[in-house]
Symmetry: C4
Subunit: 391 residues, 4 copies
């Protein structure tokens, strides 16, 4: 097989495994299969502890485990092999790209999902505790849920406040345990005979779990119990408030980042720095057009430059000819730069979302980034030539 064939396959594998179903239809099937396999592993792990099932279907469980480890191993190997296709890593020497890729946290979780299985085969000595690591396979699901990753990020960013409320919970726990120990130790020496023993009741009450296996019986103990219950309701409020605040901030930030990364993909802004892109993102306006609605009309004064964020539009050249504009194309820029009227109509052909840069915002940007106007002119000329070739 030639090197070009290899590269073609490596590209395909990368698209299917890393980019998923949006880019390559087979991605849906492969990812779906792996998700099902992970869930089945968790179920099998749990089922194996039911003696009846374990003895009856022992062979099946073993076979399924071997099969899973093999699939995970192959998947891992393919991911590492094809990782050189990732844009950020593509300019490094392959071995370095793969080493960097393999040291990502998500790849280490993947490794832990099958490595212990292989180890137990290689060293059949009593490594039974390694089997417990099989439960880690469930963590692999995190890879497939972007929302879960957002939740992790929020929890991480608010970790200071969350630890603070955990600390407060522990302080309250010690007070509740100490109090109930002094009030109930004579009445119920078994359940409240020491502070550690009393903390079992205190924690179950503070978290409103309330098993009821141990409850205070003296009047004073019951009064303290009531106070602890009320404190428990208050304690519930803290993590909720912290995470809700973090979540709503995250959701604002997310929208900014989404626009930002859309802007970063526009060829015109391709070689701008992180700070410049953030500046541009802040001044962009968003507008949407229904199919058939004119976006730019010939004869209007050129006041805006447009970047097509999604959808398709048609630039009418006259005489029935037209050019199709796609995601990332810019238009309206010549009339804006030369302060003249638009020469050609642009009509939305599908539902379009556009980023709009008006002349004031452009003037401000170009003062801060002097090369920007030249780059827009260049991009416009390049696109024009494309368009002429296309017609």
């Amino acid at each position: 097989m030639t090197s070009a064939r290899w590269r073609h396959w490596r590209r395909k594998v990368h698209e299917i495994l890393e980019l998923g179903g949006d880019v390559h239809p087979a991605g849906y099937i492969v990812n779906g299969f792996i998700i099902v396999l992970i869930v089945a592993n968790a179920l099998a792990f749990a089922a194996q502890t039911v003696e009846e099932l374990a003895t009856r279907y022992d062979a099946w469980f073993r076979a399924f485990n071997v099969f899973s480890v093999m699939v995970f191993t192959i998947e891992y190997a393919l991911r590492v092999w094809s990782s050189v296709e990732i844009p950020v890593l593509s300019r490094m020497p392959p071995w370095r790209a793969r080493a960097i890729f393999a040291s990502r946290p998500i790849m280490i979780i993947d490794l832990l999902a099958f490595a212990p299985g292989i180890l137990t085969w290689l060293f059949p000595a009593d490594l039974r505790f390694l089997r417990l690591l099989r439960v880690l396979r469930l963590f692999r699901l995190a890879r497939f849920s972007p929302a879960l990753q957002t939740l992790f990020r929020v929890c991480k960013e608010e970790s200071g406040a969350l630890l603070g409320s955990l600390l407060l919970m522990l302080i309250l726990l010690l007070f509740a345990s100490t109090g109930i120990y002094f009030l109930e130790r004579h009445a119920q020496p078994e359940a409240f005979g020491s502070i550690p023993a009393a903390s079992w009741w205190a924690l179950a009450t503070l978290t409103t779990v309330g098993y009821g296996d141990v409850v205070p019986v003296t009047p004073l103990g019951k009064m303290l119990g009531g106070v602890v219950m009320l404190l428990g309701v208050g304690m519930f409020a803290l993590p909720v408030a912290i995470i809700a605040t973090g979540f709503s901030q995250e959701s604002v930030r997310h929208q900014f980042v989404a626009t930002w990364s859309m802007v970063a993909r526009v060829p015109l802004f391709a070689d701008m720095s992180r700070a410049e892109l953030a500046d541009i993102t802040k001044v962009l306006d968003t507008r949407s057009y229904d199919p058939g609605v004119p976006i730019v009309r010939a004869g209007d004064v050129g006041e805006n430059m447009y970047i097509l964020a999604s959808g398709e539009a048609r630039l009418l050249l006259g005489k029935g000819r037209s050019v199709i504009l796609k995601e990332g194309d810019i238009f309206g820029e010549m009339a804006l730069l030369e302060h003249r009227r638009h020469e050609r109509d642009v009509i939305a052909t599908t539902y379009c979302r556009l980023y709009v840069l008006d002349n004031r915002a452009l003037a401000r940007l170009s003062r801060r980034h002097p090369g920007l106007l030249d780059r827009i002119r260049l991009a416009a000329t390049a696109q024009d030539e494309n368009e002429e070739a296309q017609t």
Copy 2:
């Protein structure tokens, strides 16, 4: 009965059933009756499982069921028949309008509420499981609670994050079950003898339900129990935070949509596209006036155009004559367009809410939608003629 009579009654039925008490007073009675009937059905369904009641009042239960199915069937038929009165569907051929209407989710729920009842009469074979579908009748209540529909929408939009937190809950559940299984299986082989068995305790603890039918007894098991309780408090925070964020965003969006649909009803903007309406909605300002307060004074410079959103105003023509302006009427537009002073006073006669479009916003809009100014002139002329006829 003539076709006109039919149409009159169809219109009435439509108003009563779909538009409710705000439009036709009988709507309150009919809707109230149906709500009571739905609740009574749920109660009857539950009561029928009490053996004593079931044997004693069997005939009553049967009769009530027959009655309910008949009412629901008639109501359903009337809704489908009168659906051609819905503005969006009114231009289609009747059979298509009704087919489209009947395929709405809310109509399918309505169908499921009585169809199984009819089926069991037609095919008296043992279709007892169909009786279970009777519990679906309660879902019909969703039709009458707009807030519930909002809740559903929020849950649907945040479904990604909610699924993510459910996934996290399941991961924690597996870890908690595995942990307690290893720590307690020797002490309590019955309750913690396998991971599936242990997960009953783990879930009751993670959700802070805490039945207390099974509790860990070993010191290590109790320590793990404490950790699981604390995780449970944390897990509670996630759905709350997700739904709270979604809910507050929904409430902002709702206000925009409410204004949007009010604007869409103004005849002037009637034939605008969705995108154009959104543009206009963004630049409109809202103002309210108490009864008797002048909105426009003759002699003032015309800087704004006004659209009456709610309430009534009076345009003074001089010599004691005046014209009443109603919801949707526009005024102030001529002075604005011709850059001259207002010629006549306009005074609020009831509490009025107005949408205001100032000259800068209008200039910007008209540049993007060149036909807008002409349409405003046309609408103004048409309204003027109306007003003259009215005086």
Copy 3:
């Protein structure tokens, strides 16, 4: 006693009872005494049901009840008598003012707190159920907690959404009860023998109370139990999200209303309508100054008009003379109206909060409210004369 004496005492009583400790120091004592009396009533009511205490301290309980009823009656009578001092009611004939005042919800609660007590003395027949109304006395506490009133308002405004989530809870309850009834009725005919019986378990699980007196025992029942627990966690999220959203909106609205009512108290705006005041409130800017900092300097161009919201400032007249400006005073208005420079310094003497109206906002306001400028000129002249008299 002369009529003037009467009025003097009526005014005092009104200040003490209605305006509280901020206005008259005795208000703290009287209000504190009533709060203690209410709480003591609730405790006595509860204690009377303990047989031991009831028999032993019967006389004391009776005496305390008589005393409470008398105090509440006197307090109620004084409130009604002095209600004519309330500004809104002061222009009506006294009997009408008192009737309107007595029909306020908060006064009806007050009435219910003692009226049944008096009734039982007048008609000593068996009105024991009236005694139960004594528990309503606790509601009187709401009068003394503004935060509780805010909570009630939020709950009332979000009542639609809260009812929607209650409805959803009931729908889930019916499904959970029906499901567990079919799965567990053979295993535990006593606890799950009918849907109403099963709903006791279902509700305790959905609300995460989890008594544990009844738990499913079959594997399928336990699985349904797990789903119901998870739904319970989700159901918790709804009221929290609804009230949190309502609460944060209420807190924004509250700030607007606070500014609004401050503006309404400025004599200049005294005779403006609700709509006009809202307009003005929207364009006001807030600024604060430390003691000793100049607010206006002689020689600066007059660009703003200032209204003193809180604190005190000093207008320097030269030659060591100065005028003290207080809450509600306006200054800077002449320089603004006549487009000239300020003639005198104004210096903050305490920490000051000011509402600032700049010339653009004033121009816009005065166009909409043509009489405003004249009124400002008038107010300025009146104030000047005052100041001259003061120096």
Copy 4:
């Protein structure tokens, strides 16, 4: 030892104990050691109540307690001694500075952590109850968690609303107890024989703890139980909503205060009042630059003044010479003040955050604070001289 030596050591001790690891590396070790000691104290306090451990390791517990008290005493003494290094206190006589410092709430908590221990040694009489105060040592942890202090602040600011919801909880509690007392007292005279007894069940249900040691058994009692459970879910929502609203406001306020205190540290604004600083903070814009990106380019029109908030930039003087700009330095101010073009490039050398004041904002500020422009000119000259010295 000379006085200078003393001062040197006092400064060091202050840096290590009060400013922590960010300022002096030893701060990490010392603070870490104290945190571990506090936690170990809490554990020892709890462990001592386990009889077995108490008898066996009695000597160890005593020794550890003596050791802890000594460490806390020394730490407290050092804190008080070195407190004169705190900027706010440094201008007072030492004894007053230390008295003020020692009366801070956080220092009183520190004192309570060891003082009772010393008292029991001095007066070996039966002061066993003082031992209980040992549990207060855990509060010392609050000093090391800024998040916990934020939580306290939020709870304090929302204390009105939190007390209101506690009051509502108590009102509901009384109603629930009264109701269940009348419905269940005959069926279960032991658990529901009086209202105080019944309130144990009512509180456990309202807080969703649900021990299950006492449950209603009559149908009406169960129905009331269901209502109380639903009210419990509603009651949960209140503190969560209150704290969530407070928390998100606190987080906005925190960002403002963070910028504010950064601005306050800029030498240019050093002698401004609180009110002036707040004014300036409101008009500042924030921008960030990646390393290597030019911030100001020679030849551009001077439109902004920049304050370096964090990071480092380089001012190019030509001929390869350059000056390094650090946190707090200002630049671009001369071109702005004299309305001319920038003469020199400024390039970010690290990731920089800048506060930007544009000419309109500066004009508005300088009108309100006439001395500002002169001060900027002065600061610029001083900085220039520094820079020339530096090259």
